[in-house]
Symmetry: none
DNA sequence: GCAAATATTTTAGTTATACTAAAATTTGTA
DNA sequence: TACAAATTTTAGTATAACTAAAATATTTGC
């Protein structure tokens, strides 16, 4: 199993991300210019690299037509993403970094080569399904949840979503949620956002309407 | 604070190690040929690199006279060693690798750049003083235990000591030690030395008595 | 003390990776 | 179909690390 250079791995990651953009489950052809923007290089450099990646069987590359990942290439990309997100969980859960400090370190750690390391790290962390930013973590086979977890505070008026988790799991907080009828699994719709205090008006399970403060909304994960 | 390339960091590590060899606390001049052997390159390559490291203020380099580390250079070397050994502790203590499997992974992890990461990892591991091979771990200031490691072969009848490390870290050797029950941390007493083949009779953990060959005894570090 | 042996440095390259400007080509579209 | 935009090719650049061979310095043996 060939190992890729640091740069090649980054290209794979970027091509994967770009190919999944917009359309949720679908895969789209990624263009040279697009990759050049994302890697902050020139299209000429990208053409160069695409030839290399195609030669290694990682992308389907038809000149002037853009690229898609091969099965092999997608696996490679997902592994890098898996490693990045697992390390982020490690940094936040175990080393107590905050979620906005971990990206640069994870960018380095994701390139460490050892399948056994990844397997054991995953186990050590309890096989997490989401990273600290709410992004799903691929499992060893490359499978993952298809949606991103988002804090309720970030939803827009009219958005509909499921309540899937909380950041603060203290009994007090959970008890409060129970009291206002906002349990995990609830289906909600954001009906208004109050500018003044950033509180939200939401309709729960197509029924009752309640108001929650921005502090509460900032502790609730949703999935749309 | 300049960051060094992967290769530069490895040179620093090797120069540090070679400069401390034989004489315990003392520092010796390290020669070009010596470094070439240790890095598995040619002397010409080493001369090249030495000029680079000297220009960065990391080594005292007088042509044809060998090199020593500057204060700055020693700090850099000690940081790499610190990171390597901390990651080894992580891999063994947290991810349950065995001590003969971790070297190659730690070789990669030691080059991740983030002082905060090292500080937090150290804390997470409980500020360990020795790595799984028994080598002392420098603290944030570069200080570490200087307790002299002595080859078991050099101990005298009646000496009691702790087994704290090995010279030969090959999986084969480590596996053999495990098999005969002579693990790091064991407390032993030398009960006899057999003249004929220079093998040793030792009592392990105040219990079982075993015989080990001079080859084995010449590969085991102890601390009294 | 000096010549020979050894060690080291310099010279003049090589290889590999990744990048780029400019020219050439292809594609999509008006 | 012609032109603009996108892409690829060409012909380089930069950097890092390495090397053989030649030149130079140091050490050693006599």
């Amino acid at each position: 199993m060939q190992t890729l250079s640091f740069t090649e791995e980054n290209y794979m990651k970027i091509i994967y991300r770009a190919s999944k953009l917009s359309s949720p489950g679908k895969t789209k052809e990624v263009t040279t210019n697009e990759i050049a923007e994302l890697t902050d290089t020139k299209p000429a450099s990208v053409s160069d690299m695409l030839k290399k990646l195609a030669a290694k069987g990682l992308i389907n590359y038809v000149k002037y037509q853009g690229v898609t990942l091969t099965t092999d290439g997608e696996a490679k990309a997902l592994l890098v993403i898996r490693k990045h997100r697992l390390w982020e969980v490690f940094l936040v859960d175990k080393l107590n970094f905050s979620w906005d400090e971990v990206h640069d370190i994870a960018e380095q750690l994701e390139h460490v080569q050892s399948d056994e390391l990844v397997r054991r790290l995953d186990q050590f962390l309890g096989f997490p399904e989401y990273d600290p930013h709410g992004d799903p973590i691929p499992n060893e086979k490359g499978e993952m949840n298809s949606k991103k977890k988002v804090y309720l505070i970030n939803m827009k008026i009219g958005d509909k979503c499921d309540v899937v988790g909380v950041k603060d799991t203290s009994p007090l907080f959970l008890k409060y949620l129970d009291k206002i009828g906002l349990t995990i699994g609830a289906y909600i719709e954001i009906t208004d956002k109050i500018e003044f205090d950033q509180s939200l008006e939401i309709k729960v399970n197509n029924g009752r309407t309640i108001i929650i403060s921005k502090e509460i909304a900032n502790n609730i994960y949703t999935l749309d």
